[in-house]
């Protein structure tokens, strides 16, 4: 008996090798420095033999592939194979969000990550600490096209700084072009119905929302109308749908942002007195039933907009594409219009600027071709957009509405002023100052929608309406609005944040939603701030200050 137990133990010990990375068999280091080929040192040089690279792919909600295509074989992968002779093999594919994050987390835990993948800032730091990803400094120098470098530089170095550790470029970020100001999107037809003027101040807005609540212009039935929809996170997501940021900025509140006060001290925007005031204001509106009563559990604000329950929300210039396009399909009288709500009604607003690097693409450390990433970025974000925009298979993809998220590597690099530039170009084409044929593919398809809209502005199709309302009305408003930018001073993650940030975030989410829904009085904000500080906030503020000082 005792003997058999011993056998079992030996067996188990043997099998526990299943858990260890094959630490014994490290790849033989390549001592022979081979001469670098042209493909390895230029943006568009083509490899002689097909380079197969593995990818961790975050997938879009509905890719809408044509029959037979998939994430490893589609117009983009074929284009890349043709141009650079590279082929992706997907290590994993998972929906953007928790499902993808979970795959990344699992891959890191096992110590084996794909050759190329997208990660967030926290994970990037983790990968750098673990020495799992390649230094891209040299590859970027050699293999990023001039335009790509120009694009990154349009952020004044802020974008690449975010991906630089100890002077080494460890990732290529997707850039996030300016997406503020966001606007109030509101049902113009409802405003007309209740016989009021377009809003410019918070007071105006309150009167209109009250009228929405009382007069039920959408015939939803008593109490069913949602005058204003706001996300349950309340605010602090840059350029996103359903944030209350426009209102909060009027109070001088910039939630979830790291800022400096006049005397140069770092503070966290969610804990400021201004935020308390702004939350109190929102709580008052909630109490008056001007804000969605189900804000705390509402997962799907879009559906309330599509089915005509909702009268207003805050959102960026592209809101007509999503979700308002669907709203138009259901009800073509739903006349959503953008307005700027400012403190004094003069249209001058402040808004916090965003992290210029929204997501990071990394290359596995041992991968033989780290230059593949800058090459892919150059191919997809420069050559394809500015030279090969007539490449037939991808044009066909766009026409068939295939999601551009099916690209094997979804990196997006663009100028910081991309949206305003786009508006200017399309406007010029419409005015006849620019030959539409010279527009790139995206702009051209939007130009067509806009010019179709202008042919019959009284009865546009939902797509024409979306194209015009976003590019010619939304983007224009964005282009013309005077915005005073408030630059957050920190976007990274400190040591203590690793363990404590999730909890502090939780605390913050809860406090915000509770105060707004009136479950706790406004003064509960002070309790929140002191709990926030004592459970780690104070030490994190100190760490942020320290890290800023080091930069």
């Amino acid at each position: 008996m005792r003997k058999s137990v011993a056998y079992v133990l030996v067996g188990i010990m043997g099998m526990s090798m299943l858990l260890t990375g094959c630490s014994g068999q490290k790849e033989a280091e390549k001592s022979v420095e081979h001469e670098k080929t042209e493909a390895e040192t230029t943006p568009y040089g083509k490899y002689e033999e097909t380079v197969v690279y593995t990818v961790g792919k975050n997938t879009p909600g509905s890719p809408r592939f044509p029959e037979g295509d998939d994430y490893e074989n589609n117009a983009y992968t074929r284009y890349m194979l043709e141009e650079l002779n590279i082929q992706n093999k997907n290590e994993f594919e998972a929906a953007t969000g928790d499902a993808y994050n979970q795959k990344v987390s699992m891959a890191i835990a096992t110590g084996k990550i794909p050759d190329v993948m997208m990660v967030d800032r926290t994970t990037l730091k983790q990968l750098v600490d673990n020495d799992m990803i390649a230094d891209l400094t040299e590859s970027y120098e050699q293999c990023a096209s001039d335009r790509i470098k120009e694009m990154y530089d349009s952020y004044g170095g802020r974008a690449l700084d975010m991906a630089t550790f100890d002077g080494k470029l460890m990732a290529l970020p997707s850039t996030a072009c300016d997406n503020v100001p966001t606007f109030l999107w509101i049902r113009q037809d409802w405003i007309d119905e209740v016989g009021m003027d377009a809003p410019a101040t918070l007071d105006d807005l309150e009167k209109i929302l009250t009228a929405f609540r009382d007069k039920d212009p959408g015939n939803n039935g008593a109490g069913k109308t949602i005058p204003l929809a706001i996300s349950r996170s309340i605010g602090g997501s840059y350029g996103a749908l359903f944030q209350a940021d426009n209102i909060m900025a009027i109070f001088g509140s910039y939630p979830r942002q790291w800022l400096k006060d006049e005397s140069g001290n770092v503070f966290y925007g969610s804990t400021s007195d201004e935020t308390k005031e702004a939350l109190g204001f929102l709580a008052d509106w909630y109490k008056k039933k001007l804000i969605d009563p189900q804000i705390a559990v509402r997962d799907d604000i879009e559906s309330t907009i599509v089915n005509g329950q909702c009268g207003a929300f805050f959102g960026p210039w592209w809101a007509p594409d999503y979700p308002l396009n669907d709203a138009r399909k259901v009800d073509e009288k739903a006349d959503w219009r953008p307005y700027i709500i400012s403190g004094k009604g003069d249209g001058a607003i402040t808004a916090y600027t965003q992290n210029p690097a929204s997501e990071y693409y990394v290359v596995r450390k041992e991968f033989e071709h780290p230059e593949i990433l800058p090459k892919i970025a150059s191919l997809l974000c420069d050559k394809l957009v500015y030279e090969d925009y007539n490449y037939e298979p991808i044009v066909a993809y766009n026409k068939a509405n295939v999601d551009s998220g099916v690209k094997p590597v979804g990196i997006l690099v663009n100028y910081s002023t991309a949206t305003s530039d786009m508006y200017e170009r399309i406007q010029k084409a419409i005015d006849g100052k620019l030959d539409p044929e010279e527009l790139n593919i995206d702009d051209y398809s939007q130009y067509l929608k806009c010019s179709d809209y202008l042919k019959h502005p009284d009865e546009p199709s939902p797509d024409e309406w979306s194209g015009y309302m976003s590019r010619m009305v939304g983007a224009k408003l964005m282009y013309e609005t005077e915005v005073t930018g408030v630059d957050p001073v920190y976007f990274g993650q400190t040591r203590s944040m690793k363990l404590k940030w999730a909890n502090l975030n939780k605390l913050e989410d809860e406090a915000f939603i509770k105060i707004v829904t009136g479950e706790e009085p406004v003064d509960y904000f002070d309790t929140f701030v002191s709990t926030w500080k004592s459970t780690g906030g104070d030490s994190i503020v100190a760490e942020v200050e320290e890290e800023i000082a080091q930069q």
């Binding site: 188990i12 099998m15 858990l19 260890t20 835990a109 600490d129 829904t517």
Partner: protein, 298 residues
């Protein structure tokens, strides 16, 4: 004689062998992962080479205010589910056993077992739909002249909803075990008792209940070992930030903060502590069952 017995023993070992191999590969080997609880696990270094930090992760657990909240939530939700999730199915089984109309009985059984078959991924959609602010239950409440209630966003209601919907999902299926036990009671006993003039209630007390008592004890004891499992799938699919305070349980916390947050060591430490407590409870429950019901689970 002795030789024959040894041969018998080998037969028994052989029968257990296939299962044991699976258990060793998929249960024992991963247990080396428990080491992570005592390390600052760095993926690049692996489980056997990461820095040893002793009880640091456990100390941290005690430091954060969340620990108490999560433990409290887990216990309240789990105990609520165990108590109601035992009583309701027993009552239902006893009631159903009294129904003689075979066709109806079968129809009812088919219906009440149904929710059990659905996963929480699916049921969450159904529950959210039913408890929606504009949904059927609130329509009912409004028609009785009350204000609608934001069930899934209310810290007073959320745990009740969790317990209630869990009991709703499982009572039918839970009654299967008891119905099976009821059919195992010798009908002759009932007949004899009826002839002796025992009424329904007396028969229930003296024949039926003692007849199913072993299985009741077994189920309760098994459930006690689950006292720290408040139901990941259910909570995960129903909770939202406003009800973290009452709804966040150990497992959801480990997943959210530990796995998605890549705090592997911290997550493992919590999981380990949970297993130890669960183990202690189950062993005591077994002892309890042995002492008072004269039977044991294992």
């Amino acid at each position: 004689m002795k030789k024959k017995r040894m041969a018998g023993q080998a037969g028994y070992h052989a029968m257990l062998m296939p299962g044991m191999i699976f258990l060793i590969i998929f249960n024992v080997v991963p247990m080396f992962g428990i080491l992570m609880a005592f390390e600052d696990y760095l993926p690049a270094k692996g489980i056997f080479h990461s820095a040893w930090v002793g009880l640091e992760n456990f100390k941290y657990m005690l430091e954060i205010p969340d620990s108490m909240i999560i433990l409290r939530n887990t216990l309240i939700i789990a105990i609520g589910k165990i108590v109601l999730g035992t009583i309701v199915p027993i009552c239902f089984a006893l009631l159903l056993n009294e129904i003689r109309n075979k066709l109806m009985k079968k129809g009812i059984q088919t219906v009440v077992y149904l929710p059990h078959f659905l996963s929480w991924a699916v049921l969450a959609a159904i529950v959210v739909n039913i408890f929606d602010y504009n949904g059927p239950i609130n329509s009912l409440i409004q028609s009785m002249g009350h204000d609608p209630i934001l069930f899934l966003g209310s810290n007073t209601w959320f745990r009740k909803i969790l317990i209630g919907t869990d009991v709703w999902k499982e009572f039918g299926y839970g009654s299967i075990v008891y119905l099976a036990a009821l059919t195992g009671i010798d009908p002759g006993l009932h007949e004899a008792a009826a002839i002796d003039g025992a009424n329904r209630f007396q028969r229930l007390r003296h024949i039926t209940l003692p007849g199913i008592m072993p299985i009741i004890m077994l189920m309760v004891a098994m459930n006690l070992g689950n006292i720290l499992n408040a139901g990941f799938d259910q909570v995960f699919n129903l909770y939202n930030p406003i009800v973290y305070e009452t709804g966040d349980i150990i497992d959801t916390y480990v997943y959210r903060v530990g796995l998605l947050g890549q705090q592997y060591s911290f997550a493992t430490a919590i999981g380990l502590l949970k297993s130890i407590v669960g183990c202690t409870l189950l062993l005591s429950a077994n002892g309890f069952a042995k002492k008072f019901a004269n039977m044991q689970i294992f």
